[in-house]
């Protein structure tokens, strides 16, 4: 694989490499004898009167040098190194990665495949599958959904029964495989500006039984029934087809306070779960589906 636009440079570099190595050997041979005059000390004086004779090195030391030269020539013959020559082994990093990946899938594939044919409900009962699922979760999901799957602000809790897009195994699988994009448009203008948004917010607070201003809530309800109802439903129960959250429960993805809700209404929100079909195999997604389903049914992370 040439890094240059012209093949000449590969040859140029190749020739320099080989000639330098051979030159090392020649130089070593030629320079192994030295002509000296006078008593043969190294010429250095330490501590006023300490001198050192030029004692010859053992010959095996020189042989070690020749061995390194032989090694480098052998290396260049077997592995890529001389210009664009691929080496006798034809080794590349990419090929090695592919081989190792193949070896790994041959080794671990059967473990995943064993569970791939089982129902999610069955998989979720196998401690071995849950242990694998937890590892997959910690590696791929915990960055956002936290190590216990209970999420954080902006990232849904997967360990409760409250679902934005549905909590059936199939819905979970779709969420992981294809990802989800939940969009709430800015509604400030539609609900009548800052004051209108505040009224709607108090109505929303009332839906989940929180402390609210009942006068504002009454006014807010009117706006709600005109605007918000389209996605969140007449009773505020949400719509899992659209990923519109249930407003009547205690789960608040972006904060439950008045300020947080007003901000949500005024500015809207676009929230995304990325698709994992390119990252994880179907068999791994199956195990993750089972693990997440297990968490949502009240199962505790097993620990490892």
């Amino acid at each position: 694989m040439s890094q240059f636009t012209s093949g000449v440079w590969d040859i140029f570099i190749g020739v320099i490499s080989v000639v330098s190595i051979i030159a090392c050997a020649v130089f070593l041979k030629v320079q192994s004898v030295r002509k000296t005059v006078e008593a043969d000390t190294s010429g250095h004086v330490w501590d006023e009167d300490l001198t050192e004779y030029n004692n010859p090195l053992p010959r095996w030391w020189a042989w070690l040098f020749y061995i390194t030269i032989g090694f480098s020539l052998g290396y260049l013959a077997l592995y890529p190194g001389v210009g664009s020559f691929d080496g006798v082994f034809g080794w590349t990093q990419v090929k090695q990665l592919e081989e190792e990946t193949q070896a790994a899938s041959a080794r671990f594939g059967p473990i995943y495949e064993k569970f791939a044919t089982q129902e999610v409900a069955v998989v979720a009962k196998s401690p071995e599958a849950l242990a694998i699922g937890q590892k997959l979760f910690l590696n791929n999901c915990a960055q956002c959904h936290a190590s216990d799957g209970r999420g954080s602000r902006g990232f849904p809790n997967l360990a409760d029964k409250d679902w934005l897009w549905g909590g059936t195994p199939e819905a979970i699988r779709t969420s992981i495989t294809d990802g989800r994009t939940g969009v709430m448009p800015p509604m400030g203008a539609a609900v009548g500006g800052d004051e209108g948004a505040k009224d709607v917010a108090h109505y929303v607070l009332s839906l989940s039984g929180r402390t609210h201003d009942s006068v504002r809530a009454v006014r807010g309800k009117i706006e709600y029934q005109k605007v918000c109802v389209a996605c969140h439903g007449a009773e505020g129960k949400g719509n899992q087809q659209l990923g519109a959250p249930d407003l009547t429960d205690q789960a608040w993805l972006h904060g439950s306070g008045e300020t947080a809700i007003i901000e949500q209404i005024l500015r809207g929100r676009s929230n995304q779960m990325p698709a994992h079909k390119e990252i994880l195999s179907a068999a791994k997604i199956h195990l993750l589906t089972a693990y997440v389903h297990f968490l949502s049914q009240g199962g505790a992370p097993p620990g490892k």
Partner: protein, 499 residues
């Protein structure tokens, strides 16, 4: 200058480089010097005596410990096992984890300081008596001597042409060397993988039907057995003094720890010179000779092939073989022993008595080294005694910084890596302190098998609101203790974030 002037001579190798004495004025003699000289084989002569006995005692002590130690059993497991694969080091009752690296560091510090101390007191004691290079060379030379005979017979054998006898002797020597070397390699690997299993695996190689044995010798086990075997055979059989002279860094820096009161192998020049052969009952004084009979025994027994009478040289490994050799000659001649002896520069110059010389041992350098060594040893012993067989790491979730849960409480997520470093099954209780209303949700009673570890997911929760915990980062502490032993207790700090 406190250093003795170390004479770096070239007496060992032939002096072909030196120009003839008295270079005639003007016409400089140009000499061709080979920069790489063929090795001159050294045939050390067998020596016996007080110091040789000490060396053999150390050979026995170190090698019984090395070859035997791997076979000891402790609580149904190998007593000394460095289980690299599972990252647990077993040394009798102790189990060390990678987190205990400090103890290895301390051990190395003790080893280094001891080397300084011993070297300051009596020179290259380590080189002369305890270094594996010395010990294995001693064993290999013994084998060589038993099979080929002592110095002169070996030299004669090597000079002579090929004969059936020579081939037989050489083959027998190398077979014995290789067998011992392989056993050494096997023992070495036996400290890393359980030696009994390794033995079964090795025996499997010789089973009549290769397919029947269950566990095969792994490629890495095979490689390391052969590698250490080869290293033993090569270093103790072939390289020998070359390792000390050309490879060993300790050899070079140990002389930096010498001072004028360091005991070194010393030739008593004043008493010995002028050297010369003389009849046994001749009166040396009448002949104008010193006590050195110039028998060359001290050169013949030297494993590095130097002449100690030229003074201290960097090749001298301080083995005292020349002391033993010379003493025997002195005995035969009826002269007092100790023409070559352990002495110090000050003792030689100031003509100190033995007692005076030894009194110089207690000088600042030695006392400081001893003080430091003992301080480190005592600290390490206290550390080992107080070591709690429980390790806890608190891993705070990086994703969920602070989450709001039902009722407006704030929750932080942690994972506790709990390691039961003892060898018995234990239950650990986990608590958290540091904030009002803080409590844990999750598995707070964890059972762990002996030398087991587990990642325990936990949620800490606090009540927030007016008058309660303020926003910000708060220091909290996880307390983990063994259910059956409150002394096994670890306190690990972390952070709780409220926003």
């Amino acid at each position: 200058m406190a250093q003795p002037s170390l004479v770096l001579t070239n007496t060992r190798k032939s002096n072909q480089a030196a120009p003839p004495d008295g270079v005639d004025g003007g016409a400089a003699v140009v000499v061709e010097t080979e920069l790489y000289a063929a090795d001159q084989k050294i045939y050390p002569r067998a020596v016996s005596g007080w110091f040789a006995a000490w060396r053999w005692a150390l050979v026995w002590a170190t090698q019984l410990a090395f070859y035997g130690g791997a076979w000891l059993t402790w609580n149904d497991r190998q007593a000394i096992l460095f289980d690299v694969v599972h990252r647990k080091f077993y040394i009798f009752g102790l189990v060390f984890w990678p987190q205990d690296i400090i103890y290895l560091t301390v051990l190395l510090i003790i080893a280094a300081l001891s080397l300084f101390l011993f070297t300051a007191v009596a020179g290259r004691l380590w080189c002369g008596y305890a270094c594996p290079q010395t010990v294995y060379t001693e064993i290999f030379m013994w084998i060589e001597r038993v099979i080929e005979g002592d110095r002169f017979r070996r030299m004669k054998l090597d000079r002579g042409g090929l004969s059936a006898r020579k081939i037989g002797l050489k083959a027998a020597k190398h077979a014995a060397w290789i067998a011992l070397a392989l056993w050494t390699g096997f023992t070495f690997v036996g400290y890393v993988t359980p030696i009994r299993e390794l033995w079964t695996e090795v025996m499997g190689l010789f089973a009549s039907d290769g397919a029947s044995h269950s566990a095969a010798l792994g490629p890495w086990e095979t490689f390391w057995i052969l590698f250490y075997g080869f290293a033993t055979y090569g270093n103790a059989g072939w390289m020998r003094e070359q390792v000390c002279i050309y490879m060993c860094p300790y050899a070079r820096f140990q002389s930096a720890m010498f001072d004028r009161d360091t005991l070194i192998i010393t030739y008593d020049r004043e008493r010995g010179e002028p050297r010369g052969a003389r009849p046994r009952r001749a009166d040396a004084a009448a002949l104008g000779l010193g006590h050195c009979v110039d028998c060359d025994i001290c050169v013949q027994v030297c494993p590095t092939g130097i002449d100690i009478r030229d003074g201290l040289q960097y090749q001298c490994i301080g083995c005292a073989a020349c002391v033993d050799g010379c003493d025997q000659v002195m005995d035969k001649m009826g002269y007092p022993r100790g023409l070559i002896r352990y002495s110090t520069q000050n003792a030689m110059e100031q003509k100190l008595t033995g007692a005076q010389m030894l009194a110089h041992t207690f000088r600042a350098r030695v006392l400081v080294y001893s003080g430091i060594v003992w301080a480190v040893i005592i600290a390490a012993a206290i550390g080992l005694y107080a070591r709690v067989p429980l390790k806890v790491d608190v891993i705070r979730d990086r994703a969920a910084i602070a989450r709001e849960v039902e009722g407006g409480d704030i929750e932080n997520v942690y994972q506790l890596q709990i390691i039961n470093a003892s060898e018995s099954k234990r239950v650990f209780d986990i608590e958290v302190v540091g904030l009002p209303t803080i409590h844990l949700d999750g598995d707070t009673h964890v059972e762990l098998p002996g030398t087991g570890s587990r990642l325990v997911p936990l949620r800490a929760r606090v009540h927030v609101g007016p008058g309660a915990v303020a926003p910000g980062a708060h220091r909290i502490e996880f307390l983990v203790h063994a259910h059956d032993d409150p002394a096994v207790f670890v306190r690990e700090a972390s952070v709780f974030i409220v926003r």
